[in-house]
Amino acid sequence: MIGELLPLALGNLARARGRLIMTAGGVLVGTAAVVLLIALTFGLQRSAEKSIGENASLTEIDVYPNWGREMNENLPQLTVEAVRQFWQVPGVEVVIPMVNLQGGELLAGDYTGWGNIMGIDPALLPYLGLELTEGTLSLGPGQGLLGPRVGDNFFDPSSEEWEPVQVDLMNTPFEVRLFQYNSPTPSERKVELELTGTFREGTSFDYAILMPVRDVMAWNEWITGQEADPETFVYDRVVVRATSRETSQDVSEAIRDLGYATGGIGDYLNALNNFFATMRVMLGGVGAVALLVAAFGVANTMTMAILERTKEIGLMKAIGATDRDVLTVFLIEAGLVGLAGGLAGVGLSLFLQNVINQAVQNAPQGDSPALIFLPFDTSQIGGSLIVIPAELTVLAVVLATLVGVGAGFYPALRAAHLPPVTALKQE
């Protein structure tokens, strides 16, 4: 039926081209406003994410015991069983439990320093999203991977001044000194550590040295003088990685529901995403106001068209058109006005996207007054302040069409319910 009525509606639209173009122009402006404002939030969000960290760490969720909630002996701890539970959470790609060295000192040549030595299952290394600046990403017994900032924290023990010294650890003999505190006869032990690589700055492991978990646990047993008991053993840190950005929020929630606290870049990012989602709704709302104005334009145009063509409506009914046919014809017309405006609006948005991004890219860094308000480093924008996802363009066109149909509904309904005689006699 619509297929038969479509040419009729198209013919009607062709009659008043000027009015059609102006009405569709209103929808164009409204659609472009919605698309560009929403695209701006996508651009800002992407830039903000870029300035936070590398892509790999965005799905990372840190899990802690929920200390803040209440003092409770039954507070869920990061036990072996807990790790097993985390693996069961839907959307989890990998669970990386880690063990800290209970105490020790780093020795590099004549200097000493501190660093967090963390034990990890070497098989899980690739999931940490670490990129190396030198060496290879592998951990064997007695080997370690170096955080890029560990070398900053050394000093000369013989010096009077407590002056930090920068040490090139990769090229300096490296040892760890372990202390046995609890023993009645305090003793210490030096262990050699072979560093296989340094990873890139910008992760949560900048000040850490990663080692095989077996080594760290063995050292901890020596330090404490106790064997690790699988029943009571507690990990110091658990990183859960979600399969994607989209699932990371659900994973966070599921883990919180298990009674743990979550944090980390992924979780911070979720908060950021929520912020941008709110911003998107607000700016989209501003754009929607323009679209609402356009809707009144469509309603007005349709009312005019129906007044002009009242006799024709009477005629259509006289030759057998149902109320529904008349309604359909006018709704198609209104929808087509919306569709035309929507397509043009998306076209304009895509054009402006190029223009604006070009302008941002060419803007002098730092002293561009237009960009000062941005809540992050503008150098991160990298030429895409406006980001229009394909879904947004489709959604905008659909929305514009629906706005047209919606705005045309009341006039069309009135046309459909006109008594044929009244319509035919209209002067």
């Binding site: 013919g11 009914k317 046919d325 044929p420």
Partner: protein, 249 residues
């Protein structure tokens, strides 16, 4: 005289149009206007009826009620066996599509459509495929001598040509009843006669029931029966020997 018409209709097994005590009341502000005041009539199939009367007599109102374009205020109307009073709008639309073809004084062609498209328009609402309806429209225009003008739009056609297109459109769904409201009102007398001859032929050759509203006695002479309305009532109803009835037959 009205006896004769009534008797005549009872000779046929079933009347095409039956109106029983039909009234129509308009409210104009505080005023109540009785456009039709208890009109009863029966029209057998294949009869050519002219409804006459001065303006304001209610003749057009009666036609629109019989054609299902308006609702009666009271009384019963049956056309082609369908009860029109109280029928919902979808039912009326279907009735108009299947049972009646309308012809108007002002033609009421869609100005942006060609003659062919105008004739085929009822097929759009009957959900008829495009090629089928265009073939049918072409045949109808051809039969009315309009074949050379099928691609012309109404503004490019003379009044008589436009009315022929309108007649072709009225015939599109092959309805048993043709209703015409002052079909010659906008035409010169010679063209008007041609149009009336066409309507006469539809009645005589195809057995269509034709109801024409007119105030022109010359037009009414093509009819088998003349009904005079005055102030919403039938004042005269008589059978006549139609002019050129024999010619057309």
């Amino acid at each position: 005289m009205s006896e004769r018409a009534a008797n005549n209709s009872h000779n046929n097994h079933r009347d095409m149009i039956i109106a029983q005590s039909v009234s129509k009341v308009f409210h104009l502000g505080d005023q109540v206007v009785h456009a039709l005041d208890g009109v009863s009539l029966r029209i057998p199939p294949g009869q050519f009826v002219a409804i006459m009367g001065p303006s304001g007599s209610g003749k057009s109102t009666l036609l629109y009620l019989l054609g299902g374009l308006d609702h009666a205020s009271g009384g019963e109307i049956l056309v082609g066996g369908a009860r029109l009073d109280g029928m919902a709008s979808d039912g009326l639309a279907r009735f108009r599509r299947e049972t009646v073809g309308f012809i108007f004084q002002a033609f009421h062609l869609v100005p942006t459509m060609t003659a062919l498209e105008n004739v085929a328009l009822p097929g759009v609402f009957a959900a008829m495929p495009r090629d089928v309806r265009e073939r049918r429209a072409l045949a109808l225009l051809n039969a009315l001598g309009m074949a050379p003008r099928i691609d012309h739009k109404p503004p490019q056609l003379s009044g008589g040509q436009q009315q022929r297109v309108a007649i072709a459109r009225a015939l599109f769904n092959n309805p048993p009843v043709i209703m015409a409201d002052e079909p010659t009102g906008a035409l010169d007398s010679r063209t008007g006669q041609t149009v009336m001859q066409m309507l006469r032929a539809l009645c005589t050759r195809q057995g269509k029931t034709v109801v024409v509203v007119t105030h022109d006695l010359g037009v009414a002479q093509y009819a088998d029966r003349m009904i005079q309305l005055m102030d919403g009532r039938i004042v005269e109803d008589k059978l006549v020997a139609p002019k050129e009835k024999t010619d057309a037959a």
